[in-house]
Symmetry: C2
Subunit: 131 residues, 2 copies
């Protein structure tokens, strides 16, 4: 028996055209794409920061060591397209843009903090192992 053997219906849903696949273990499922988006260190770091408070671009870039402007820009654009963050533009000169989590983003923020906390709590156990 394979792991978590799918039912006949689930198998059909995954393999036959006209049936939508479902679940992160299915290659072509939308949930797999969502998993790939959130299981990403930059997403976790950005959403973790924004779960503390709204931030401007420069604040995010300075507070996430090692992120490039290009990578930050791409991630902010994707997170906005996915409805996880929104931007507010103040008509100053130059315009001041603030990024903030949507309700869906706040939910992801809680998960991001759990992932961050796990890494910080257990890195020691992982990295002190004999090699």
């Amino acid at each position: 028996m394979t792991v978590d053997e799918p039912s006949a219906d689930r198998r059909r849903a995954v393999t036959e055209p006209g049936f939508e696949c479902w679940g992160v273990y299915s290659r072509d499922c939308a949930t797999r794409r969502t998993l790939a988006r959130i299981a990403d260190k930059w997403t976790i770091l950005i959403v973790g920061r924004l779960s503390q408070r709204a931030c401007r671009f420069g604040e995010l870039r300075r507070s996430i060591e090692g992120i490039s402007s290009k990578v930050l820009t791409e991630h902010l654009r994707d997170l906005e397209a996915d409805g996880l963050i929104f931007r507010t533009v103040e008509p100053t000169s130059p315009p001041s843009v603030t990024y903030e989590l949507t309700d869906l983003g706040v939910s992801l923020g809680r998960l991001a903090i759990s992932v961050k906390d796990w890494a910080e709590e257990h890195a020691d156990a992982i990295h002190r192992r004999p090699t």
Copy 2:
């Protein structure tokens, strides 16, 4: 003020040689490397499967659609080196190798299931947005 402004001590810890940096927001910190390891879709999928039960290589490969043998091999090797999984080899012919979570891996397994569940619960909200 920048986000989560570090204390003078923390700033020194991050920037001066001889002081270990700390925290996932610091580029060179071990916790950042741990975050990169766990914030990875294949890690989440593999550890999620192994949190259901011990599996052999072929079972894992078949039950995680789209993963290549090469990627699965690399991830299993890294997870073993990090003390998150262990292998049991039965002296059959050919030898039968089973992968299982360690206690640390079980802890990561709970997180992996949370990430998987979030993706499955919210993919619809993300992917049905107008583009």
